[in-house]
Chain length 198, copies 2
């Protein structure tokens, strides 16, 4: 039975980026602190991240990809990651939600799909009995929550107050009950995995 | 050395109340879920909470009051709690931040103080070498963070998305680095205690 999990990192005040995010400053001013956990410690856009996740952060990442047979992300995340240099890095089929599927590159293993529901449908087909991971950004996760696609929501809370930026739950007006499934903490993040209560 | 700790409960989407909070509905629509952990499980404003915190929740509450020599809260919280029936329930001096200190009742052990800074000053005097706990609401905690009074910030995250209400960090535009100090989880909340990095 395919399980759909969404995962994203926020600050304690609920932001997925600091202020003034954009090209070359994808996580916004001071937003690097959100992803210290991804790279094993402090980094900045000036000096580029070099390390890798370790300890509880690595455990969380590894568990998040176990059993995953397809990944769905938004176009914004694809662009923010600079298309990972032109090659799908996930090792499984990757579906990019976009209003402009014709923009898809002919190589690199990226499937551009118009609309989240269609992306989930194609991801289910690709994943077979395996699971689907929704990697963000926030808009795709909000859409997936609203449409009832999400079985698990994994939130990494970085120990920082950003004071501005883009909020994960901006404009989200539904109420949902959650259940705790897993909990991990490193010096750089508290990873809480929730099940959506049905 | 007196340590100042602030503690409050939020939903995963950052709200300290659901929509339409007010008299008789202090935590807003559906906001009871924020405080399931306080009362050992589900309750509603219709049926009144009856239980007590257990397990990790009780441990968190007990640790939060250990070494505390004075408590500071906002007038809103005092009113929302209906003045605890007229008697300071904390067992240590309690300072209520208000613009109207003349409203103070003559009995019950409540000290009404005009302004947060003055309340902290009086609480430090009362606490001696012991610690100070800031119990909320959100406005008092935001003021205390802005003024640099807070050494520790303890956030209980209830496993619920409320979709509306009052946000803890509403209008808070400063950035602050935090460090993990403690972590506890029950079925009803994830309690993360942060140190403010200096």
């Amino acid at each position: 039975m395919t399980m759909v999990a969404a995962a994203i990192t926020i600050s304690l005040d609920g932001y997925i980026t600091g202020p003034n995010d954009g090209p070359g400053n994808g996580l916004g001013d001071g937003g690097e602190r959100l992803h210290y956990w991804v790279f094993g410690g402090p980094w900045t856009y000036e000096s580029e991240p070099k390390g890798e996740a370790t300890g509880a952060d690595k455990e969380y990442l590894d568990e998040g990809m176990t059993g995953v047979g397809a990944v769905v992300i938004g176009r914004g995340m694809y662009e923010a990651a600079d298309a990972w240099g032109g090659e799908n890095p996930f090792g499984v089929p990757l579906f990019v939600v976009t209003h402009h599927p014709d923009d898809a590159p002919s190589e690199g293993g990226f499937s551009f799909v118009d609309g989240l529901d269609e992306a989930i449908t194609q991801a289910r087909r690709a994943a077979g009995d395996m699971d689907i991971s929704i990697g963000g950004g926030a808009d795709v996760i909000r859409q997936a929550l609203r449409a009832g696609h999400v079985d698990e929501l994994a939130i990494s809370i970085a120990p920082v107050i950003l004071g501005g930026g883009k909020r994960l739950f901006d404009g989200f007006e539904q109420t949902m009950n959650l259940e705790h499934k897993a909990l991990l903490q490193s010096p750089f993040a508290t990873h809480i995995t929730y099940r959506l209560a049905r």
